[in-house]
């Protein structure tokens, strides 16, 4: 059984994880599902692997022995815009996932997820569906409200530009935070069930700070830097 993309070619995955047992576990689950997996334990190995060409999907841990996964994600997004990027997280904590999203990740994977769930998540991502958890949705919405209320004390954690989010997208995030399923959210908001995952992908894209100059622009917009 081989997992294939829309074009029919085999889906290649670059897995960057320094903890050997975790790496084996994920690799097993993905290989069993039919993906072609290359693995790397450090940033250097990952860069070396990329020299041979872009994978369809990058799965990376954030804390690596020779640097931070964020650097790899940023490089990947610039060099290979078509690659899907996913963060591997032990607990799915909002801060690390959101900082990965701001540099270009469009999904995350829990290290202890069941093998079937690991495969499903990657498949969904390739199909254009980004996974999002209730706590991450809550985190984003909280930032939106904080910005809207212009509160003097910004909530702790990474800076997030939520200004581009539409009210509809915020409603969807609220629904997810409160544990409603995509179908329930769609029916509450009068959407078709299929459009909800697309909205989520859009949300991820909007939270991404695309280029260096844009990062400066965003920082100025939010009053973080004074020119």
């Amino acid at each position: 059984m081989t997992e294939q993309g829309e074009t029919g070619e085999i889906i290649t995955i670059l897995l960057v994880e320094d903890d050997a047992p975790t790496c084996w576990r994920l690799q097993d689950a993905l290989v069993k599902a039919g993906y072609e997996v290359r693995s790397a334990g450090t940033l250097g190995e990952a860069r070396a692997a990329l020299a041979g060409g872009a994978p369809r999907v990058l799965l990376t841990d954030l804390r690596l022995p020779d640097g931070h996964g964020i650097e790899l994600i940023r490089e990947m997004r610039q060099r290979f815009p078509d690659t899907e990027i996913m963060v591997i997280s032990a607990l799915g904590d909002e801060e690390s996932v959101i900082s990965a999203i701001t540099v270009g990740a469009t999904g995350y994977l829990l290290k202890d997820a069941f093998p079937t769930d690991i495969a499903t998540t990657v498949r969904d991502l390739v199909a254009g569906h980004s996974p999002i958890s209730a706590s991450i949705a809550r985190f984003i919405v909280r930032r939106t409200q904080g910005a809207a209320q212009n509160s003097a004390e910004p909530p702790p954690g990474p800076v997030l530009n939520t200004a581009k989010l539409t009210p509809r997208e915020i409603d969807i995030l609220w629904g997810i935070a409160k544990g409603f399923s995509y179908a329930e959210i769609a029916s509450h908001l009068g959407l078709s069930k299929q459009t909800v995952p697309g909205h989520i992908k859009n949300i991820y894209r909007k939270l991404e700070v695309h280029t260096r100059s844009e990062a400066v622009f965003e920082a100025v917009q939010q009053g973080l830097i004074k020119l």
Partner: protein, 652 residues
């Protein structure tokens, strides 16, 4: 050590002063009284010298002193100034006739006749024609006013050579009639002397009376605003009396209202009695009951004046009124001297000196009345009374300013104290808040630690135990997975969800469905109301942990023991009339168990413990747990409280 010594010494000295107070006190009185008395002596001397200087000089070149006086039918030559005998009837007044020479060469300017001093009234005629009648000027008739008179002599009346001048002196007793030297000469020569006297004895008293009336108004306002201090009312009354006395024209015989003159006569003793009363009250003493006797003479004069006609009130005034004024002045002098010794303040010094001046002038007037000193019958008591008015005004102002200063400094102290108190309060409030926050934090930490011990700790221990026994596979995996799940639960509960339990349930749903997916169990999630559960601002992390653990336990039971295929979670908001409350139900389609028989007789001991745990968790956060189970499944119904409890009452 030295501090103790110093204290002992001060104690000893204070003891010494208290046991033998008489000598230092006497010394103190002497040391204060002697300088004061010396000062008063100095003032007496200055006053006498001042009165000497006050004596106006008259143009002696034009004096006419040699007259023939006809009194009681007897004619004899007299030299002016001259006293007549005392009389009580205006009929047959003493008649003076004299002569002066006039040369027509001198008559470039008009001539006048000038009378510096007379009592009580005069009618002057030149060559038989009346040129001056002082009875028309009411104020001129008052013996205490020293009023001079001047009258121009029409040129047509004057003859070259000797001219006749006659003066009729109207006297109403009991004082003797008095006629000072008469001056006849060019108006230019006489008028300056007349004007000096007018300034001294007419204008100046009017100025002082105006000052007195202003003082009366100020004092009356003060008294109206501060009724508790009668001292101002007393003084205002005295001032009003003085003003009335000064400005009311005395009804002169033969006026119809001549009896009202008694009012004016009585005013002086009553006024002086009031001033004494003021002095006593002003220096902070109680007004003695017998003190009211000072008013008796004035009232007697007043009553007699209203009942009997003149000259009785005037005689009474002379006998009773004037000595009363003197007595009052003397009492006042004693009062101020005492005040000076006791208080040593500027007000008592000033009033004391003023009293001395007035007293000296009164004594001088008495000596004048009894013709012991001759000063041409100039009475100075009234004039000197103005010194008292000035002193009283200044004393009041001084005291008022000092009171204002005291109020200012008091207000300043008050502001400082309030600020200090405020700061202390703020500090203690901050401390209290800090302590409360620290306590709350400690409580929360304790609860979290307990939760971590209960859940994560136990699971990690079982992982260790399992791996030591060499058990491979599913059991260790389950234990580790449970530990991770518990860690997520605790971390998740720490998040601020703003009282919206739905946000915590949303995360739980994800975890539960991930847990159920490998078992192929469907999680049927249903929120009955679109907004979910009511908001609970009082919701704390430990409440969330308890609720989520209960739900976890229910789901775990359904998976492990009931072999359920489908688990339904229903979230509903109900309202029984006392406000909305949330209800969370977990229903499975498993084989159930019989909880009512006996908890130990359940499926196994673990289930029993699990159920007990669920109940105690529900009790801890004020929720009601309802469990029902039969062959068709189990239903756990958790009814949330309307308000979550602050303290963990059932924690044990």
């Amino acid at each position: 050590m030295s501090e103790v010594l110093a204290k002992a010494i001060t104690k000893a000295t204070t003891k010494a002063t208290t046991t033998a107070p008489t000598r230092p006190r006497r010394q103190l009185i002497a040391s204060r009284l002697v300088p004061y008395l010396l000062l008063q002596v100095l003032i007496v001397i200055v006053t006498i010298l001042g009165l000497r200087l006050l004596q106006p000089s008259d143009p002696d070149d034009f004096a006419v002193s040699d007259f023939s006086a006809r009194e009681d039918g007897l004619t004899r030559p007299v030299t002016l100034p001259h006293f007549t005998s005392s009389r009580y009837s205006l009929a047959d007044p003493p008649f003076y006739a004299g002569a002066f020479s006039f040369r027509r060469d001198d008559a470039a300017a008009g001539w006048s006749v000038y009378l510096p001093r007379f009592s009580n009234a005069v009618e002057v005629a030149v060559n038989g024609v009346v040129v001056l009648d002082s009875r028309r000027d009411a104020n001129a008739n008052r013996p205490d006013r020293n009023t001079p008179e001047i009258a121009a002599i029409p040129a047509s009346l004057l003859r070259d050579g000797s001219n006749e001048i006659t003066v009729r002196l109207f006297v109403w007793g009991p004082l003797k009639g008095f006629l000072d030297t008469v001056y006849v000469g060019p108006d230019v020569a006489l008028r300056p002397a007349y004007e000096t006297r007018t300034l001294l004895f007419v204008t100046l008293p009017v100025v002082f009376s105006a000052w007195q009336s202003i003082l009366a108004v100020i004092l009356a306002i003060m008294w109206l605003m501060r009724r508790r201090e009668p001292v101002y009312g007393v003084l205002a009354t005295a001032m009003v009396l003085g003003v009335v006395q000064a400005f009311a024209p005395p009804p002169v015989p033969p006026a119809a209202t001549s009896r009202l003159a008694a009012v004016l006569l009585a005013s002086a003793p009553i006024e002086s009695a009031l001033v004494v009363m003021f002095g006593v009250l002003f220096f902070g003493w109680r007004w003695p009951r017998y003190g009211t006797l000072v008013f008796a003479p004035g009232i007697v004069v007043f009553v007699v004046g209203l009942i009997g006609g003149p000259p009785l009130p005037r005689i009474l005034f002379l006998v009773l009124g004037i000595p009363t004024v003197g007595l009052c002045l003397f009492v006042m002098a004693c009062v101020t001297a005492t005040a000076v010794v006791r208080r040593q303040d500027a007000a008592s010094f000033m009033i004391g000196c003023a009293v001395t001046i007035v007293l000296v002038c009164w004594i001088k007037d008495m000596l004048t009345v009894f013709e012991i000193v001759s000063n041409e019958r100039i009475f100075v008591s009234r004039l000197s009374y103005s010194a008292m008015l000035v002193a009283i005004g200044a004393g009041l102002t001084w005291r008022f300013a000092r009171a204002l200063n005291q109020v200012d400094s008091f207000a300043g102290q008050l502001v400082t104290r309030v600020r200090e108190a405020e700061e202390r309060l703020k500090a203690s409030f901050a401390r209290e808040e800090e302590r409360a926050r620290a306590a709350a934090l400690a409580n929360e930490r304790t609860r979290l630690m307990r939760d971590l011990h209960d859940g994560l700790g136990g699971q990690l221990v079982s992982i260790v135990a399992l791996s030591e026994r060499g058990h491979e596979g599913a059991t260790i995996t389950d234990a580790a997975r449970a530990a991770l799940k518990d860690l997520r639960l605790v971390i998740d509960s720490m998040d601020d969800i703003g009282g919206d339990l739905m946000l915590a349930l949303g995360s739980w749903r994800e975890r539960a469905s991930a847990q159920l997916r490998p078992h192929d169990i469907t999680l049927d999630w249903r929120v009955a109301t679109p907004q979910g559960l009511p908001l609970h601002p009082e919701l704390r992390p430990w409440h969330v942990i308890q609720i989520v653990r209960i739900l976890d336990e229910a789901v775990t039971n359904a998976v492990k023991h009931a072999q359920a295929r489908r688990i339904a979670v229903t979230i509903d908001t109900l309202d029984a009339g006392q406000g909305p409350y949330g209800v969370i139900s977990v229903t499975d389609d498993g084989q159930g168990f019989a909880p009512n028989e006996n908890n130990e007789a359940g499926r196994n001991g673990q289930t029993a413990r699990g159920l007990r745990n669920m109940r105690s968790r529900a009790a801890r956060c004020g929720a009601a747990l309802d469990l029902s189970s039969d062959a068709s499944g189990t239903r756990v119904r958790l009814q949330l409280p309307q308000r979550f409890p602050d303290s963990d009452a059932a924690a044990g």
